[in-house]
């Protein structure tokens, strides 16, 4: 078997991986394998091919005409990337692309991230205190629900107080922001 990359040398490294039950094989000569960094920690969860096929699995089923009409108007006004080009490359051009392609993103993100579309992790310090407080509030509400479900009313009381305090703070901030 020849190396898939250079087509010059006999393939020596056969690289296999399975993502979501789909098997993918890559055959490279030793030199190309080293160049591709297969001996190193690899950085992406998916290979680009896998990624594109998992992102846009229904490519063929959408009629050509429909596809053109749907994508004609979607061009990022900051970096100039069109939705069509985004589909081809699988990469955004700037942060504004997320806004521009917003209507199409949920199904793509769901496919790549096991049904998830919303971030629940770290928040940058500079993003106002509001979002941090909102997160805390969500957490406390979940906690309260759990405690009430377990009929643990003793511990639930202070949690409820904390929720009320946070809610009030958030409201005051909102009013302050409007003026």
């Amino acid at each position: 078997m020849m190396c898939q990359k250079c087509q010059e040398h006999e393939a020596a490294v056969h690289y296999k991986q399975v993502v979501n039950g789909e098997k993918q094989e890559t055959h490279l000569c030793e030199g190309c394998a080293q160049e591709e960094g297969y001996m190193n920690f690899s950085d992406n969860g998916l290979s680009i091919h896998q990624f594109l096929t998992s992102m846009f699995p229904f490519d063929q089923s959408i009629s050509q005409k429909q596809q053109v009409r749907r994508t004609e108007d979607a061009v990022c006004n900051k970096c100039g990337l069109s939705y069509q080009a985004f589909r081809r490359k699988g990469k955004f051009g700037c942060s504004n692309c997320y806004e521009t392609f917003h209507p199409y993103l949920d199904p793509i993100l769901k496919r790549v991230h096991s049904g998830n579309t919303t971030h629940v992790g770290k928040i940058p310090k500079k993003i106002g205190g509001n979002l941090h407080k909102q997160r805390e509030l969500d957490q406390l509400r979940k906690q309260l629900e759990q405690l009430v479900q377990n009929e643990n009313f003793e511990e639930a009381a202070p949690v409820r107080d904390q929720i009320n305090k946070l809610k009030q703070e958030l409201e005051e901030e909102r009013e302050g922001g409007d003026q």
């Binding site: 991986q17 080293q34 190193n40 950085d43 699988g90 790549v112 500079k126």
Partner: protein, 355 residues
């Protein structure tokens, strides 16, 4: 250059310290992808804003210290020889993709080479942090602190719904890729990996192995990492990965015991044959070298081989890659010359052990 000097140059200082479960987990890595709010992503190819990003990082962080990491040194891709880049790639300090960005690509590398911040790779910043052994929690904690330090002097591209915005939709949200490099010889020899890998994939994790001609993974090394970056917190991502890695460690330990009981003499024979090949061969290809190194490392872990340091697998897997071989030889080598030089280097390295 003496071999010892060469090794000192090739092996990052952090690799010489030992972490938890280091008989099975060689290293842990945390990577965070971040972008600046004001500049188009490197994928857009818009040079002007990328130059700004590079200038900002150079001005604010070049030769700056952060806690235990001492100074960060800036290396620009434009100023490196191809072989120097290759060495940095083989040391995992930069990616092959960054090495190709000769205009605006750069990396801030900490003095002990444990932390590296790639600039203008696929994202404006890619922070990578390595720990020896199984140390994901500590790695995440520290990476997050460095992340705060980087955020202090800029505005990240962040969206309340989508989280940290990245060039590739596979990284959006936390921008976190947590990985461990595991040595799993007993699970490989007992053909258990074929069953285990699909199970792990179902949990949203990715297992990568490097395969030679046979069915055994090269060096019997596997990288396990998270695939999902959106909809889970950083801590959840790391906890989920940790619990799977913990199970793999236990299975590998059980498989080693089983092998010892069932076929102790065959296993001992395999290990010492491999040791013999490394100690005496005159030509060795990288796949054979990887297999033998893996066997010898297992032999050390099981107590068959004494007086050889555990680091030998990690060390020689790095040293015998083409970039390093040519760096040590101080000339370009064709594949045949490499195989001879590799054998020479391994023999010489093993002799350092015999005192």
């Amino acid at each position: 250059m003496s071999l010892q000097d060469f090794i000192n140059e090739a092996i990052s200082p952090w690799m010489n310290t030992e972490g938890s479960d280091s008989d099975i987990v060689l290293s842990s890595r945390i990577r965070l992808a971040r972008n600046f709010d004001y500049a188009a992503f490197p994928t857009s190819g818009e040079q002007e804003s990328l130059i700004k990003v590079l200038e900002h990082m150079e001005k604010e962080y070049s030769n700056q210290s952060y806690n235990q990491f001492k100074q960060f040194h800036l290396v620009k891709m434009a100023e490196l020889e191809p072989v120097q880049k290759r060495v940095l790639v083989e040391k995992h300090l930069i990616s092959p993709h960054l090495a190709e960005n000769n205009h605006t690509g750069a990396a801030l590398i900490s003095e002990n080479e444990q932390a590296s911040i790639m600039i203008n790779e696929e994202d404006h910043l890619r922070l990578q942090l390595y720990y020896p052994g199984f140390e994901l929690t500590k790695a995440l904690e520290t990476a997050s602190q460095i992340d705060d330090w980087l955020e202090e002097r800029t505005q990240y591209a962040f969206d309340e719904q989508r989280g940290y915005l990245t060039s590739c939709p596979t990284n959006v949200g936390t921008g976190l890729r947590a990985s461990v490099m595991m040595h799993l010889p007993a699970l490989t020899m007992t053909n258990k990996m074929n069953q285990i890998v699909p199970e792990i994939n179902k949990l949203g994790l990715v297992v990568r192995g490097i395969y030679g001609e046979g069915s055994e993974a090269l060096g019997q090394l596997f990288q396990v990492s998270n695939q999902i970056t959106l909809g889970k917190s950083e801590e959840e991502i790391v906890e989920d990965l940790k619990s799977v890695v913990q199970q793999l460690i236990e299975s590998e330990r059980r498989a080693r015991e089983w092998l010892l009981q069932q076929s102790g003499i065959q296993l001992e024979d395999r290990i010492f044959r491999s040791y013999g090949v490394l100690a005496h061969s005159r030509i060795i290809e990288s796949k054979e070298a990887s297999k033998c190194l893996s066997d010898v490392r297992l032999g050390i872990d099981l107590g068959y081989i004494k007086n050889v340091s555990k680091n030998i697998l990690n060390e020689l897997m790095v040293l015998t890659q083409p970039g390093f071989l040519q760096h040590y030889a101080q000339k370009a080598l064709n594949p045949k010359e490499r195989d001879a030089f590799r054998a020479h280097l391994i023999r010489e390295r093993l002799q350092l052990e015999q005192y």
